[in-house]
Symmetry: C2
Subunit: 125 residues, 2 copies
Amino acid sequence: MSWKLDSDRPIYTQIVERLQIQIVSGEYGPGSRLPSVRDLAIEAGVNPNTMQRAFTELERLGLVTTNRSTGRQVTEETEMIQKTKNELAANQVRDFISRMSELGFEKKEIISLLKNEMKEETGND
Amino acid sequence: MSWKLDSDRPIYTQIVERLQIQIVSGEYGPGSRLPSVRDLAIEAGVNPNTMQRAFTELERLGLVTTNRSTGRQVTEETEMIQKTKNELAANQVRDFISRMSELGFEKKEIISLLKNEMKEETGND
DNA sequence: ACTATTGTATTAGATGCTTAATACATTGAT
DNA sequence: ATCAATGTATTAAGCATCTAATACAATAGT
């Protein structure tokens, strides 16, 4: 997964979302150590301050814990992670339906378009 | 449809998207007159310059035409509108699948979650 | 005890978005 | 010919984000 940050929205927001995904998808498992602010900033090609801001937000959300000099870890609370995953998914589903409805598509059409796109996809089943 | 503009992204971008939707959904039909920059700015609660910028972008996209002193109209080219509608929908579908996959859901799960959410919806079928 | 690594804080500057106020340009309506 | 409504352009200011450079704080490892 590359960073693909764009300038449409605040970078720190995009980083938060990306790390959220990496956590709830298990790429960073519960209790696992996260890279340091400085390292991740270099990897993402952003200023350390920006990465710091993203981490602060993740901590506020309860997904990561912080220990000075030890660094940061993903929370051990798997329930918290699962809950976040379900919420993020629910938001995606609702937003998708909402946007497609606004564009003028009916329920059946939405399902149809979705299935059709999935057929054409290569892999990731 | 209310304006519901947030500060997450540039306002003029959000206005462009909203007007796009209103055009492709037929709320503003082909050839129909659009409100003036000043009027829409007041309605949306933004500065006229901001609304102007959004319109400039819509013109660049080929969705509206401009006539000084007459105002702006939705393009007469229904093909253009239809094409835009399909593109916007395709983007929504692809993005949705992509995001759900990143979260760790498989195709069947995605369909299932979608259908489930639609069942619980009230109306707009 | 010392050092390296980590998180955290501060200050300054650049950039883009938005608002505000104002002016100009075009043209249909009278 | 005049006026009103429209689009368009300009300038200045405020604000948030981001970068940059630097310093400080805490602690695991040696």
